[in-house]
Every structure is written in C-alpha cells, then in structure tokens.
C-alpha cells in the first residue's frame, strides 16, 4: 500500500534521517516478480529422505520382502486348509510335498488334497502353517516392541530435553541406571516368573500371548526405551540452541511453528533409525526365549520353538530346522538392511 508523500516532499531532508523517500522506489513489474519465484519446488525433509530411500535398491528389496512376509503371515491363516494345532499321527514326519497313506487314498477317490509344502512335524501337523504363524509372531514382536520404544522414548526424551535443568538431571540419572542393567538377563528372569503365573491364569489373551511375549513387551516398556530417550533428548537439547531456531524466533515464529518445522523433522530421523535398529534385537530376544521354552504357550509355534523342536531327529529331518531358520534369517536380514538404508537416507550428516 503506497501513501502519498506530499507533506514533506519540499523540505530538505536531514542526512541522518532514516525516513524513506518513496519516489525513489518503484513497483516491481510482473516480470520482475516472476523472477523471484523459486525455480525448484521446495522439497520437505521427509520427501527428500524418502526419495533417497527409494533410490536404494537393496533397501527397497528388503522392504518388499518384509511386506511380502507380513502379507503371507497375516492373510494365509484365513484360507489355509490346515491349522497350526491340528495333529494327525498317521501323517508324522512327512517330507515336503509328500502325502500320507490316508491322503493318497483320498486322492485316489478323486478328492483334492492340499499338499504339505514344508512337510509335517513329529505330531503330523502341517509345517508350512506353523512356520507362517512363527513368522507372524516374530513380526508382531518386532513391530510392537518398536512402537513401545518409540512412544515411551519420545515422551521421556522430549520432556527431559525440553525442561532441562534439574528435571533433566534427575530423569537422565534414572536413564543411566536403567541403561546399566543387564537387559537380556532380566527378560529371562521375568519370563521364568511370568511362565508360572501364566500357567495358572484363566485369561484367554494372556494364555495366547504366553510368557515370552508378555515379558518382552514388559521389558521393552521398562528398559529398552532408554536408548531412544537419550537420543531424542540429545536432539531436542541441541536443536533448542541452534541459530536457525533463534532466527525463526526472531522473525516472530510461534512455538508451534518451531516445533512443527524444526523440532519434529530433526527428531524424526533419529527416531526412525533407532526404532529400526530395535526391531531385529526384539525378534532375536523372542526367538531366544522360545528356544529356551520360555516363549509362546504350547501349541502356538514360534520360530525359536520350531528350531528347538527340530533338534529331535535332526539328522533324518533337517528340513524341520531349515524352514524356520531361513525364515528368521530372511526377516532379520531384511530389517537389518532396511535399517541401514533408513540410516543412510535419514542421516542429514551423510547428505552430499
């Protein structure tokens, strides 16, 4: 908006005056305005990182493998003709794609029999569906424990970093103490204790989850979030002091804008990287507990308990070990490589 400047036009101007002579200024033409428009569209941090991740072929392959496994694990049980607990003593220890006498008779009668893709186990249960259920448990443990770590870690870390001072000191002392506790030992100990309590429980959900899952979620909620909390706190502390935050405060940005535009994008990378590293360790812990017999409750299979059961008759039926072993290997490998890819994509320090 231009105001007429006639009032002081004739008067000689003080040299030191800061008053602006408006006639010296002209309106920009439309052409000049157009030059100021950014030629490159602005790319948000998330988009940028996602693009970099998309270019990482190995990471995308791993993401695809994980999604494929998840799809198989969560959908197959709805239409698969066998269940994980149905026993058939006449069909025990069958090799992959082998039919039992009873099933051959049924085929000869013209009935169609779905093949045992991975054979059957000692009790004649279809092995493929058991491996699928085991993979499902591994995936669930990995993702839910990462969620627990993300929620508690972000809340704790951001409160500690935001308030600073004495609150921060006390909160971080607690983190130090928890950090020093030998976590895997405590998981094992809790599972031993919870195993006894679960066996007496009548609650269907608790029975289905089993001592291993309950103690893993408990311990992840109690102990494992400290790494995340430390990282988030460090990030919040350092961002608070950055010049660009000061600059945006100076030009009048509200707290909500600073949090939205500076705090969250800068924490997201750390959160994603730490959470991705958490998943393989959770899957390992669950399979380890199941292998010791502290995992899921009985007929429910887990990749760890399948591998443990495969030790009986290992020489004659090695495929009982190979299938769960390959499954856990592929899942953890994919998460590891995807984690590496995420780290490369989201770590701004590596940006070239």
């Amino acid at each position: 908006m231009i105001q007429p400047t006639t009032s002081d036009a004739g008067r000689p101007k003080n040299l030191l005056s800061l008053q602006i002579d408006l006639p010296d200024f002209t309106l920009a033409t439309d052409e000049e305005k157009a030059q100021q428009i950014q030629t490159r569209p602005s790319v948000s941090f998330m988009k940028d990182a996602m693009r970099r991740l998309g270019r990482n072929k190995l990471a995308m392959l791993c993401l695809f493998v994980i999604l494929l496994f998840a799809l198989i694990a969560f959908i197959t049980p709805y239409f698969y003709p066998y269940t994980y607990s149905k026993q058939d003593v006449t069909a025990s220890y069958m090799r992959p794609f082998q039919y039992s006498q009873k099933e051959i008779a049924r085929i000869e009668n013209g009935q169609s029999v779905f093949p045992h893709i991975m054979g059957t186990d000692a009790l004649g249960r279809d092995y493929a569906i058991r491996v699928i259920y085991g993979t499902r448990i591994s995936l669930m443990v990995g993702i839910f424990s990462a969620l627990i770590v993300i929620i508690i870690g972000i809340l704790y870390g951001s409160i500690s970093g935001y308030f600073g001072g004495r609150v921060d000191l006390i909160m971080m002392r607690i983190v130090d103490i928890i950090y020093a506790l030998p976590d895997v030992l405590i998981v094992i100990l809790l599972s031993v204790a919870i195993k006894d309590m679960v066996s007496m429980s009548k609650n269907a959900l608790i029975l289905r989850l089993g001592p291993g899952m309950i103690s893993i979620f408990l311990v992840f909620g109690l102990l494992y979030w400290v790494g995340m909390a430390r990282q988030v706190r460090g990030q919040v502390l350092s961002i608070k002091e950055q010049e660009y935050v000061l600059a945006s405060r100076a030009i009048g940005a509200k707290a909500s804008r600073i949090i939205r535009k500076h705090m969250i994008p800068n924490c997201v990378s750390v959160i994603i990287i730490v959470a991705a590293m958490q998943i393989p360790s959770a899957i390992f812990t669950e399979s380890f507990l199941s292998f010791l017999g502290l995992g899921v409750s009985m007929p429910m299979p887990s990749l760890g308990s399948l591998a443990a059961d495969a030790r009986n008759g290992l020489v004659s039926y090695p495929y009982l070990l190979f299938f769960p072993a390959t499954s856990i290997f592929l899942v953890v490998l994919s998460f590891n490589l995807l984690g590496n890819g995420l780290r490369d994509a989201f770590d701004p320090k590596l940006r070239s």
């Binding site: 103490i177 030992l185 204790a193 006894d196 030790r311 590891n336």
Partner: protein, 308 residues
Amino acid sequence: MSAKFTGYLLRRFGMALLTIFLVIVITFATMHAIPASPFSSEKAKSDATIAALEAKYGFDKPLPVQFLNYIKGIARFDFGLSTAWVGSTVFGLIRNGFSYSAIIGLCAAVLALLLGLVLGSVSALNRGGIIDQVIQVITIALVSMPSFVLATLFLLFFGLRLKWFPTLGTQPGGLFLPILSLALYPMAYTTRLQRSSMLDVLGQDFIRTARAKGLHWYKVVFKHALKCALIPIVTYAGPMMANILVGSMVVENIFSVPGLGRLFVNSMLRTDYMIIMGITIFLAILIVLMNFLCDILYKVIDPRIQLS
C-alpha cells in the same frame, strides 16, 4: 592419577554397586512374586515336612529378613542352598558350571575380537574392493543369524554329517563348535564397528600429514590409525561379554556342555528358584564389573575424553 580421575573412578564404582544392588532387588522381588513354592511341585509332602523344609532354607521368615540375609550371604559368595539338588550349595553348582562357561566365553570373546579387528581393518583398507564387499556381505549375514540357529546348523553339518568335531561338549575338542557358534555374531559386529571406525580415522588430517611427510603406509596404519580406531572397540567389549555369556545359555544346551546355561535350564525345569536367582545375580555382577572395567579402560587409553 589425578584427583579428577580418582573422583570419576569412585563415582563410576558407586554406580556399578548401585546397579548390582538393583539387580539383586529385582531378582529377589520377581522370584518371590511367583506363587508356587519350590517344594510343592514334587511328591506330595505333609504340611509338617514343608514347614520343616521352609525353616531349613529360611523361607519361613518375613521377606525383609530373608532379603537382608540373602544380601549378607552374597557378600560372602553364599547364594544359599539348592532346593532341587539336595545338599549342594548354589555357589558350588555355579562354580562348577562356570568353569565350563568361562572357558567358552573367554575363547569366544578373544576369537571374536581378534578376527573382528583384522577383518574390519582389512575391509576398511580395501574400501570398495572385492575383499571389502565379501566381508560386508558375510558380516551382515552373520549378524542376522541367531546364535542358536548357527549352533544347531554347526551341530548338524560339522558334528553329525561330516563328523569333524565331537557333538558333546565334554568330549576332547568338544568345546570348539560351541565357541565358534558363540564367537561369530560378536565377530561380525566387531568387524563392522572396526571398519567404520578405521574409515573414520583414515579420513582425518593427521593421517594425510603422516603420509605426506613420507611415512610408509604400514607405519601409518599400525602406528597412527590403528591406535585411534581401537577406541570404539573398547566400548563394545563390555556389551559383547554380556551377549556371549547370555548366548552361552542356549549354545551349552545344544552341545550338552555342563555349564551355567545347562544348569539354568535344568533349574527352570526343576523349579529351583535359588539357582535361577543365583545365576542371574552372578552373571549380572560379572557383566556390570566388565562394563565398569571397559569404561575405565576407555578413559585411560583416550586422554581426549572428558571426565564427566
């Protein structure tokens, strides 16, 4: 030793003691929260017998008294009496088991560190080359394999199929496979850590200066680079020992080694909570002390690190 360092040492030691105390509290509370009594599961006993047994083990006293007695006992390496193996002390059983677990754990740790350092350095020096890529692929595969799967595969191939090694830990040479299956994961981890740390150091100015003034490359690598690149490995040594000691629980069962892990699983089956408590606390003390030593060593070898 400066006063500052002594202060740090004392503070860090106090922290370690506090951690051990916390572990004892958690272990004690968890084990006493279990509703089942260790005597109820076996053959039916009269109430008088159970009462007499509880009096013998001190389970009849109020919990705070039991806890105090337990702490006092631990200070004298007395973890109480076993309830499943009558007549044995928990510490005696732990000592027997640990004589195996310690050998396996130490050998696995040394193997993992040595191989990891060599492979990691070789990988970093050949960055982008074929050797580097092969090492990278092998290590990422190894950190994605749980130790019990590796151990079972080794048992099947090297023990049962090829018969190169005995399958029982008590036979001569029988500890080789358990050591190998425990060492591979930390070895792969050390390799990756050493590679990135070495690459970090090699990119720094003082390395370029050393090369520029005409120093031979092996002198640069062994005298300048390696010394700095070793520092992050020291911080991993503590967690690595914890990893190996816990992993040993499963591997010992696969190869039938009469170590701590076997004892732990057998105690679980026979609901001997005194031994479960004893082993947890014993291992926790070991792990906490190991972390303490590594932290101190870390500060000693790197004078640049601030004592906070």
